[in-house]
C-alpha cells in the first residue's frame, strides 16, 4: 500500500472521528441550525420599520414671537415624528417632566425673534433630551434639523402668500404705467414737450412703486428662475428687467435725445412693463407651497429587489454564525487533543501535522456546510429571504468563510493551553466581528486604518459577498473572494507549522 494511500487513511481517521463526535451531540447540531433560524424568524415578526415617535413638550417663554397655536400646527404637521404633549411657559417644570420620563423631548421656542434677526443672527430653537444612546442623540439632532426646516418653510410660505396678495396691487400699477407710456409716446410724436414731461413724471412714479413692491413679490420667483437657469433655463432675471426699466425711465427725462431715440426708449420701457406683468401673472399662478419648496426628491432603486431589514441582515448573520461555529470548533479541537493526551500518541505514530489538519478541515467544512445548507434553505423557503443569485456562488463563498475561519480557529487552538482560553479567544474574534465587520454599522463609518481589522475577518467578506449574490443577484467580487481564500491559505500554513511543532514536542 502506497504512502499516499496511507496518508489518506490517516487523514480520514480524523474526519470520521470528528464527525462521530459531532453526531454524538444532536442537541448541539439542532441548536446551531434552529437557534439562528428562530432568532431571525422572531426578529422578522417583531421588527417594525417605524421612526421613534417622541412625546414632545413645547416651551413658549415670554417674548416668544411664535403663538402656541402655531406650535401645535407645526407639531401636527410632523406627527409622524412627534407626539404633541402640550405647551408650557415654565422651562423648569418641563425639564422636571423630562427627568421623570413623562416626555421624551422639550422644544424651547426662541424669544425676541425679530430683534435677533435684525441683528443679523438666527433665532434658536433649543431641544432638551435625556438620551444616552448615541444613535438616539443623533436621531434627535436630525429631528431638530427637520423641525427647524419645517418652521423656516412655514415662514417662507407666509411670505409667499403675502407676496401673491401684493401682486394684485402691482398689476394695477403696471397697467397704469402702460397707459402713461402710451400717452407719452403720443405727446412725443406730436412734439408736445410739456405733456410728454407730465406723462414721464407719472411713469416715473409707477416705476418706483413697481420697483419697491415687485422686488419683494417677485424675489422668490426670480431666485427660482435663477436656479432654473443654472440648470439650462434661459429667462431674464426679474431684477435685470427692473433695472432696465428704471434706467430707460430715467433717460426719458433727457431732452437732448432725438425724437426717434425717445420713441425707441418708450418701446423698450413698454416691453419691460409687459415682461414684468407677465412674470407677475406667472408668480400668481404658482402655489405658494411650490414657490417656497420648489424641489422634492424621489428615490428609485435599480436593485432587483427591495429587501427588508431582515433580508438585509440574513447574509451577515449567516456569515457571522458560520465564522463563529468554525472558529470555536477548530479552536477547541487541538487544545482538547492536547488535554486528553492524544498528542503523545500522535508523536509516536507515523501521523503528520498535514494529515491531522486535513482530516479536521474536511470534517468541519462538511459540518459547517451542512449547517449552512439547512439554515439557508429554511431562510429562503420559509422566511422568504430573497435569493437572486447563483447557489453555486453562494456555496463557494460559504466554503471560503468556513475555510478561513477554521484557519483562525486552529491557530487559536494551537496557541491555547486550555479549553477556556480557546473559548475566550473565540469570543474576542466574535466581538471584533460584531463591531468591525459591518454587522451593526457600515464599514464606511470606520477610520481607514481600523478597516485593516475589518478585512482580516471572514465575516466582513462573507457579509459583502453573500449580500451581493443573494440580494443583488450578481457574481461575487472575485478579488474579495480570492483575498478571503488567500487569508485562509496563509492561516492554514501557519496552523500547519504550529501543529508540526506541537506533534514533534507533544509534551
Amino acid at each position: 500500500m502506497g504512502n499516499f494511500f496511507r496518508s489518506i487513511i490517516r487523514a480520514s481517521s480524523f474526519f470520521r472521528k470528528e464527525i462521530f463526535e459531532i453526531l454524538r451531540q444532536p442537541r448541539l447540531v439542532t441548536t446551531l441550525v434552529l437557534g439562528p433560524f428562530l432568532i431571525l424568524f422572531i426578529f422578522g415578526i417583531g421588527y417594525r420599520d417605524q421612526s421613534r415617535n417622541l412625546r414632545t413638550l413645547f416651551v413658549v417663554l415670554p417674548n416668544s414671537a411664535i403663538a402656541a397655536q402655531d406650535i401645535q400646527q407645526y407639531g401636527q404637521n410632523m406627527s409622524s415624528l412627534f407626539t404633541y404633549a402640550g405647551v408650557t411657559g415654565d422651562l423648569n417644570e418641563a425639564l422636571d417632566r423630562l427627568h421623570r420620563g413623562q416626555v421624551d423631548l422639550i422644544i424651547v421656542e426662541p424669544v425676541d425673534v425679530i430683534s435677533t434677526i435684525k441683528n443679523n443672527q438666527q433665532a434658536t430653537f433649543t431641544f432638551y433630551h435625556h438620551e444616552i444612546d448615541p444613535v438616539q442623540v443623533s436621531y434627535i439632532n436630525y429631528l431638530g434639523w427637520l423641525y427647524v426646516g419645517e418652521v423656516n418653510q412655514q415662514v417662507l410660505l407666509a411670505f409667499a402668500i403675502q407676496g401673491q396678495k401684493d401682486a394684485v396691487t402691482l398689476h394695477a400699477s403696471l397697467q397704469e404705467a402702460h397707459q402713461n407710456v402710451s400717452a407719452m409716446r403720443q405727446a412725443v410724436q406730436s412734439g408736445d414737450q410739456a405733456l410728454a414731461h407730465q406723462n414721464h413724471q407719472k411713469l416715473a412714479g409707477n416705476v418706483d412703486t413697481v420697483s419697491l413692491a415687485a422686488g419683494t413679490s417677485l424675489g422668490l420667483l426670480d431666485s427660482l428662475q435663477q436656479t432654473k437657469s443654472t440648470n439650462g433655463g434661459n429667462t431674464d432675471p426679474v431684477q435685470a428687467v427692473l433695472a432696465d426699466l428704471r434706467q430707460n425711465t430715467s433717460q426719458l427725462a433727457n431732452n437732448t435725445d432725438t425724437k426717434d431715440e425717445r420713441l425707441a426708449r418708450l418701446d423698450k420701457t413698454d416691453q419691460d412693463i409687459t415682461t414684468l406683468d407677465s412674470k407677475l401673472t406667472e408668480f400668481q399662478s404658482i402655489k405658494p407651497s411650490i414657490i417656497v419648496s420648489p424641489f422634492r426628491s424621489e428615490t428609485k432603486s435599480e436593485a432587483n429587489v427591495q429587501p427588508t431589514l431582515l433580508d438585509f441582515f440574513v447574509p451577515a448573520v449567516l456569515a457571522l454564525l458560520l465564522q463563529h461555529v468554525a472558529v470555536t470548533f477548530a479552536a477547541l479541537s487541538i487544545v482538547r487533543e492536547r488535554n486528553v493526551g492524544t498528542m503523545e500518541l500522535f508523536t509516536v505514530s507515523p501521523l503528520t501535522a498535514a494529515e491531522a489538519l486535513f482530516g479536521k478541515y474536511i470534517s468541519y467544512m462538511l459540518f459547517g456546510g451542512v449547517i449552512a445548507a439547512i439554515l439557508s434553505a429554511l431562510l429562503v423557503f420559509i422566511l422568504h429571504v430573497p435569493m437572486l443569485g447563483n447557489w453555486w456562488y453562494f456555496a463557494l463563498v460559504i466554503a471560503a468563510v468556513l475555510f478561513t475561519s477554521m484557519g483562525i480557529g486552529f491557530a487559536i487552538s494551537i496557541v491555547s493551553q486550555t479549553d477556556s482560553q480557546a473559548v475566550q479567544y473565540s469570543m474576542i474574534i466574535l466581538l471584533a466581528s460584531v463591531f468591525f465587520s459591518g454587522f451593526i454599522m457600515g464599514l464606511e463609518k470606520l477610520w481607514q486604518p481600523v478597516k485593516v481589522i475589518s478585512w482580516m475577518l471572514p465575516t466582513t467578506y462573507g457579509t459583502v459577498l453573500l449580500r451581493d449574490i443573494a440580494l443583488r443577484g450578481v457574481s461575487p467580487n472575485w478579488w474579495l473572494l480570492g483575498s478571503l481564500f488567500a487569508i485562509g491559505l496563509a492561516l492554514m500554513l501557519i496552523s500547519w507549522r504550529l501543529m508540526r511543532h506541537l506533534i514533534a514536542t507533544s509534551l
Binding site: R10, R16, L345, S349, A504
Partner: protein
C-alpha cells in the same frame, strides 16, 4: 554497608565504558541508551542511565511510582528529548524517525488517551487508521478486541466503560497494527490477575514471533516474566539483569533452604557459616531449618549434602529458594532509601 558496596559496584558496571563484546550486543540491540539524563528545570527525572534491549526479548522496567519509568519510555519513543546522553532505537535517534519507522512502533501510554465520546470499536478503528491500516482491517480489529475481551462491549462509548476496560482498549489499540517494537507503559495496571496472566502469555508469544517489548510495571512480581529486568528508583537505574541475576544481586548470592530431621545446635550452625561456599548471612527459619546464601545453588547443594553427612546430620531437604520479587525489590531499593 556490604549491600551498599555491592550496589555501587553494580551501578559502576552499568555505566562503565562499553567493551568490544558489549559492542556486539549493542549492534544486535533494538534499544540502546547511553548516559541518558532528563531534567525538568532543576528536577532530575532520569539520571545517567545506560542499558541495551536485545532484539526479540521482553525488557521489564520496574520501579516504584515516580521513579522515572514513564519519562524513560518517553525518551525512548522520542516524545521527550534527552537533556544529556543519547538513545538509539532500531539504530536511529527516535526523534528523527521516518514515518515508516514509526509505523513499526506500538506505544501504550500510561493513561487512556483515546476519545470518551467514541465507542470501543470507533476508538480502535481510529488507532488502526493512525497507523495507515488498510480498509479491510475489520478482522484485525475484531481479533484485537477479542484478545482483550472487549468485543462484546464494542458498541459502548469509552466514557461508559470501567478503568480496567479502558486499559484493555489501550492495549488493543497498541497491538492492532502488529508492531515490531512495543513500548507498554504499565499495561497491566488495573487488570484482573486472570487477564494479566493472559496478557503476559500473549507478550511471550509476541516475543517468540520476534517482537521486542519494553514494558514498565509497578507489579514487581511480573518481572519474572521478562528476559531482562531494569530496576529503577529515584531516576537512577540500579541494575539490569535477568530475573535470576536480579535475585542474586539483591541477596549477594543464591538462597538455599536447608531442612534437617533434628534441631540445629549452635555448634553446627557456626560450622555451617564457616563453609567456603556459604556467603554472608545465614538465617534460622525454624528449629530444623536454615536459609543460607551461597555463591551458586547448583554447586552448593551437593557440597551441603556431603558436609551434613560428615557431621552426622540427617538432611530432610536441600532446595533453592526463589524469594518473591516484591522482597527482591525491597532488598534492592533499601540501601537507596537509607542513603536518601
Amino acid at each position: 554497608m556490604k549491600g551498599n558496596d555491592k550496589l555501587t559496584a553494580v551501578e559502576q558496571e552499568i555505566s562503565a565504558p562499553v567493551s568490544s563484546s558489549e559492542m556486539d550486543q549493542v549492534k544486535s540491540s533494538v534499544i540502546s541508551a547511553r548516559h541518558l539524563t532528563k531534567k525538568f528545570g532543576d528536577e532530575v527525572a532520569v539520571q545517567d542511565i545506560s542499558f541495551d534491549v536485545p532484539r526479540a526479548s521482553i525488557f521489564g522496567f520496574i520501579g516504584p511510582s515516580g521513579s522515572g519509568k514513564t519519562t524513560t519510555v518517553r525518551l525512548l519513543t522520542g516524545v521527550y528529548k534527552p537533556t544529556d546522553g543519547e538513545v538509539m532505537v532500531m539504530d536511529r535517534n527516535p526523534a528523527k524517525f521516518s514515518h515508516n519507522e514509526r509505523a513499526l512502533l506500538g506505544y501504550m501510554p500510561q493513561l487512556f488517551v483515546l476519545y470518551p465520546n467514541l465507542t470501543v470499536w470507533e476508538n480502535l478503528n481510529f488507532a488502526a487508521s493512525l497507523y495507515g491500516m488498510g480498509l479491510f482491517r475489520g478482522k484485525r480489529l475484531k481479533n484485537a478486541l477479542r484478545f482483550v475481551e472487549l468485543y462484546e462491549h464494542r458498541v459502548k462509548l469509552a466514557r461508559n466503560i470501567s478503568g480496567g476496560m479502558l486499559r484493555r482498549l489501550s492495549l488493543a489499540a497498541t497491538l492492532v497494527h502488529d508492531p515490531q517494537l512495543l513500548f507498554l507503559d504499565e499495561p497491566t495496571a488495573g487488570i484482573d490477575p486472570v487477564l494479566r496472566h493472559k496478557f503476559w502469555d500473549h507478550f511471550r508469544e509476541l516475543k517468540n514471533q520476534g517482537r521486542t517489548i519494553f514494558i514498565t510495571t509497578q507489579y514487581v512480581s511480573e518481572a519474572d516474566n521478562c528476559d531482562l529486568v531494569g530496576v529503577q528508583n529515584n531516576g537512577k537505574l540500579l541494575l539490569v539483569d535477568t530475573p535470576k541475576g536480579i535475585r542474586h544481586h539483591a541477596y549477594g548470592g543464591d538462597i538455599v533452604d536447608f531442612h534437617t530431621t533434628e534441631p540445629f545446635n549452635f555448634q553446627a550452625e557456626a560450622l555451617l557459616r564457616s563453609l567456603p561456599f556459604v556467603l554472608s548471612k545465614t538465617f534460622r527459619t525454624g528449629d530444623n531449618s536454615m536459609r543460607i546464601i551461597v555463591d551458586q545453588a547448583s554447586t552448593a547443594t551437593p557440597e551441603l549434602m556431603g558436609w551434613a553427612h560428615q557431621q552426622n546430620i540427617n538432611v530432610k531437604t536441600v532446595e533453592e529458594y526463589m524469594p518473591p520479587f516484591e522482597d527482591v525489590f525491597v532488598e534492592l531499593v533499601r540501601p537507596q532509601v537509607s542513603h536518601g
